[in-house]
Symmetry: C2
């Protein structure tokens, strides 16, 4: 018995590790976290591979209920997380609650968008703080984070909001619109129409899209369905420039 | 035919994804990058699982030779990387060379230490720039990166050097010594004996060790064998404090 945090990667059911699959096969209950990220395939694909039923876990269930922790006292409970389990801050809380309740906990790591963006050629160690762009709250945080990172010449990764239950994913285009509104409001001239950006959609998938272009180009570019992210690079090393040329 | 970048995770042969294993099984040649990181098991464990021979690839071979790119024009070549393939900057160069030579390239992502440190409870989006502590060159970079990150209240992750061919891995203790020498030399009082640190060894492994303690404690703590990393946290959220208490 125990609670098993299992990262399942970024794209489809084939991204789970052998270790992760073994734990899933032994599990009495399987939950899939379904609000910080989603794969690019339906849940049925996972159920077919595992030969088991999966229950979707929304934010309320994971953060407020204690059902998984209680069940894990007598059963093998698998908690599947798209990406790497603790890349999403929210799951550390569940980990703590389980530990404090004396439940056995295991963690199975997997790929995260935070390192998958390395394929753009931008060097991961040159990224500053990561930030998110939300659908509704008109937060100034993304702008302020960009400002701090730019001050140090660092790249900024913007994770874009999603509402999987409504099949709604923020696109690069909307993110640009959001940032432009903040620029109009705050006006520190952190970027303009000619600023170089990198957009990624469905990273880690066979049909992933990676593109480098100006902000102006991006406000007219459709990156398609699924999860997307935006990068505004800081100072570029010549190797990074060479890599970005590949995505133009 | 093609060149397949395959992340194999952090701990042992069971960390490869189903997708990665399928590519390895189809490969005509398998190389394992053997200088930026290693698993905690011998290469023989991988060979047994794959049923194939693996050739170790050192820095010279990956960065200077063009053998993999040439072979990938007529064969299926698997290039195994511990962690996530492009978390190590150096592999973007091989990716570019392959693309420029017209070779088909695929990427299979996997877990990286950069997100596995999330298990400490420190929030990943609050990390600033990542830096490395080398064995020999007395570089001031780690100190300067820490200073910049601290200025913004951000956490700093120090990756520690390794020489797998000599089975030599820098430990948390040596890293503390290195940083203390820089403090003596530069003297901006970024930290002292009471500064809270987090040390990790063999992250992602069943025998991983995670510990929070003062710099003084850490200069007497043995984290054992294998790859290690050091974190000097910035400003702590109360949830982060609660999580760190678990590792004290």
């Amino acid at each position: 018995m125990g609670l098993h945090f299992i990262g399942i990667g970024l794209s489809n059911e084939q991204d789970i590790s052998l270790k992760g699959l073994e734990l899933v096969k032994k599990a009495d209950k399987i939950y899939l976290e379904h609000y910080t990220a989603v794969l690019n395939v339906p849940v049925e694909n996972l159920e077919r591979l595992y030969g088991k039923k999966i229950e979707l876990a929304n934010r309320e269930f994971v953060e407020k209920e204690n059902i998984m922790v209680e069940e894990a006292k007598t059963k093998e409970v698998a908690f599947l997380v798209v990406g790497d389990p603790f890349a999403a801050t929210t799951h550390v809380d569940l980990f703590l609650r389980a530990k404090q309740a004396g439940v056995d906990v295991t963690v199975t790591n997997n790929a995260s968008v935070l390192t998958a963006v390395g394929i753009t050629g931008l060097q991961l160690y040159k990224f500053g703080k990561t930030t998110s762009i939300p659908f509704e709250v008109k937060s100034e945080t993304p702008y302020n984070v960009l400002k701090d990172n730019q001050g140090l010449g660092l790249h900024t990764l913007f994770l874009l909001d999603l509402r999987p239950e409504e099949e709604k994913f923020m696109g690069v285009r909307e993110a640009i619109t959001y940032m432009k509104k903040l620029e109009q409001k705050i006006g520190e001239e952190l970027f303009d129409d000619n600023t170089l950006c990198v957009g990624c959609a469905r990273l880690g998938s066979p049909d992933q899209m990676i593109k480098a272009g100006t902000m102006k180009e991006f406000s007219q570019t459709d990156f398609g369905k699924g999860m997307q992210c935006l990068i505004i690079p800081g100072n570029l090393h010549f190797m990074e420039e060479e890599a970005l040329a590949l995505w133009k």
